[in-house]
């Protein structure tokens, strides 16, 4: 029992950077902008955050620097795609590679150097609650922040006026514009907020979960985060489920290695990626018209919940995602 709790708590903790990155990406994609640079900007932010925290000795400054780097990369993407009409995919991809190489080059002096790390901070009182205490309240501040970020993003998107406008930017930018919404300016805003969260996700590795800096420190997490956002249908709760599932799979993979020692580690490490593709394919299969026909033949009491379940799983992308906005 204790062992299971420890494992689950570890899964919640290791998913924290994914939560920051995917929430950032969800915000900008709901506003209609794909930030494909995620993997590179996370690496560059991780490096910058570690370097600043090591030199200044201040964790807060480290995280601020990481957020700033994430913002800056997002700003470049914004200028090139939103203002200058270049393809978001092309710019994002180039930025991903450029930032990766920048982090390798500029980060050379910091490779495998000791540096500050976010201290473990069990919440007094709350951490003594049986089961919930060790599960939720014996982490550090960054991981508590990831727990809080989730409901905040959800509440903002679905229960505030600004959140409604944000979603309109991604679905019907023309309509939003006609109602007086400054589409481009707001897209910039949410792209930058998303970028800042991506930057914090990078620093979450170098200053907390994988302390320090080394070449390609985050091992492709940014690309996974992008896939999880799609897997989660651009909805914060489902995206979060995706993050925790992925973290759980990784922990399961490293465990099954001791059960089946004949199979190399690396095979287990790629298992979650394969599952991700399969799940994406399945979700799209569920969303196809063929499935709708098949569901229609089900007996009535079954049909309703089945249709609702499929509808919940297979949410379409924001209608204007990745498309340039032209003033009418």
């Amino acid at each position: 029992m204790e062992q299971i709790l420890i494992t689950l708590a570890a899964v919640l903790a290791t998913a924290a950077p994914l939560i920051f990155a995917t929430m950032g990406e969800t915000i900008s994609e709901r506003a209609g902008v794909v930030n494909l640079s995620l993997d590179g900007s996370m690496l560059l932010a991780a490096m910058a955050g570690f370097a600043v925290a090591r030199v200044s000795g201040s964790l807060a400054l480290g995280f601020a620097a990481a957020a700033l780097v994430g913002c800056l990369v997002a700003l470049i993407l914004g200028v090139l795609s939103l203002s200058l009409g270049q393809s978001q995919t092309a710019v994002g991809f180039v930025l991903a590679l450029l930032c990766t190489d920048l982090s390798s080059f500029l980060g050379t002096p910091y490779v495998r150097k000791p540096g500050p790390a976010v201290p473990h901070a069990p919440l007094p009182g709350l951490s003594d609650i049986p089961i919930l205490g060790p599960l939720l309240f014996s982490h550090d501040m960054l991981i508590y922040a990831s727990f809080l970020l989730l409901p905040t993003v959800w509440w903002f998107l679905y229960h505030t006026r600004a959140g409604l406008v944000l979603r309109a930017l991604g679905e019907r930018p023309q309509t939003a514009y006609a109602r007086g919404v400054p589409v481009i300016r707001l897209r910039y805003l949410y792209l930058l907020i998303g970028g800042a969260l991506v930057g914090i996700a990078g620093a979450a590795y170098s200053l907390d979960l994988k302390q320090g800096w080394s070449y390609r420190h985050t091992f492709g997490t940014g690309w996974i985060a992008l896939a999880i956002v799609i897997f989660g249908g651009w909805h914060p709760w489902r995206v979060a489920i995706g993050c925790y599932l992925f973290a759980a799979l990784q922990s399961l993979a490293s465990r099954s290695q001791s059960v089946l020692p004949s199979i190399p580690t690396q095979v287990f490490q790629v298992a979650p990626f394969v599952l991700m593709i399969v799940v994406l394919a399945l979700i799209n299969l569920l969303a196809s018209p063929g499935t709708a026909h098949r569901l229609a033949t089900l007996p009535k009491p079954l049909r309703r919940p089945a249709e609702r379940f499929v509808g919940w799983l297979a949410t379409p992308a924001p209608a204007a995602l990745g498309q340039p906005f032209q003033r009418p």
Binding site: V94, D101, L226, I230, P264, V270, I277, A320, G322
Partner: protein
């Protein structure tokens, strides 16, 4: 899935030569200024660094031959990506297609070691092409039948392909006596592609790459198939209404790109590493994506830009010894070139 990207890369046409030159100049100047700032911030003298990046390759015949052996697979991958970009696809799965091509090329080399080498080479190239094409068709199937965006299908399959290569290196194809993640048992020297004397350049590799480059240039610019491919890339719906089998063209471009990437993988096995290593693609596929983005998939520019990128990468390898800096600066320069080219295109008001 991500909605169809309106600003997909397509072959540039109808632009005046002068503005194209202006864009190239702006991209070069911007990238050089940016890279110089990066170098200065790491206390590396820019002039010495550029001397290595631009001219370091030409210091010894060995380095020139290394550059040719990098440029050949890079050319092949760029040729393949020219097709997928023309069709409006971002084939990020090219790294995996190259790795699977290398794995497939290893199969005849391991199973039939007693065949005469020329026959083995043909078999290895054929298997490599088939392996790469198969891996690319997985992306095509996911994209066409199941609407999984090709970027994510490709990326996921890249991870899977590197997992397969690692598994083979550490498992069934491990070195006798000691399993090491550094690679399989080296191939017997008589099946290596023949080289010039003691240099590492195998003339067959650049020759194959150049022949394929000409074929691709012809296919894209001079055939109906190429025209249809570009039509699908510009507007799949409209192309479909004109009677072009759009999904078929998408699948064909991906399969052809995968086959070329697979041949590049076979070159890596037969002429560069002489064994299967886990990172057999060495990032060449990603570099090819940068090449193709820079030239907007115009096949006429593939050769000069791919050669230039190979020169930068080979030259910068000496950075750590000569200047104590990381060789990733070549990647910074290459990425910055593409980024500033996009900026210049945006400023000049064209897509």
């Amino acid at each position: 899935m991500i909605a169809h990207d309106q600003a997909t890369p397509t072959i540039s046409e109808g632009h005046t030569r002068r503005s194209a030159l202006l864009i190239a100049a702006l991209a070069l100047v911007g990238a050089l200024i940016f890279t110089s700032l990066v170098l200065l911030s790491s206390n590396v003298p820019p002039l010495a660094a550029y001397n290595l990046i631009f001219l370091g390759t030409f210091s010894t015949p060995t380095r020139i031959s290394d550059m040719v052996m990098l440029a050949s697979p890079l050319l092949l991958c760029s040729c393949g990506l020219t097709l997928t970009f023309a069709a409006g696809l971002y084939n990020l799965g090219i790294e995996g297609q190259m790795a699977l091509g290398a794995v497939a090329a290893m199969i005849p080399l391991r199973l039939l070691p007693n065949l005469p080498p020329p026959l083995l080479w043909v078999l290895a190239f054929a298997c490599g092409a088939a392996g790469g094409a198969m891996w690319a068709l997985l992306v095509a199937g996911l994209r066409i039948r199941l609407q999984v965006n090709e970027i994510f299908a490709g990326l996921g399959l890249n991870f899977l392909a590197s997992g397969i290569a690692l598994y083979l290196v550490l498992g069934p194809w491990r070195r006798i006596g000691r399993a090491s993640s550094s690679g399989t048992e080296p191939l017997p020297t008589d099946v290596w592609l023949p080289t010039f004397g003691t240099l590492r350049v195998a003339p067959a590799a650049p020759v194959i790459a150049l022949i394929i480059l000409v074929l691709i240039w012809f296919a894209v610019t001079r055939t109906r198939w190429g025209l249809e491919l570009r039509a699908v890339g510009l507007n799949p719906q409209a192309a479909g209404r004109m009677g072009i089998p759009a999904t078929r063209r998408l699948a064909e471009s991906l399969a052809a790109c995968g086959a070329l990437a697979g041949i590049a993988g076979a070159i890596q096995v037969l002429a560069v590493f002489h064994q299967l290593i886990p990172s057999i693609s060495s990032g060449i596929g990603l570099l090819a994506l940068l090449v193709v983005l820079l030239i907007q998939a115009n096949p006429a520019w593939v050769l000069p830009i791919a050669a230039a990128f190979a020169i930068f990468t080979t030259g910068s390898l000496q950075m750590s010894v000569a200047l104590g800096a990381d060789s990733s600066i070549a990647g910074v320069l290459q990425g910055a070139l593409v980024l500033f080219a996009l900026l210049a295109r945006g400023l000049s008001g064209r897509r």
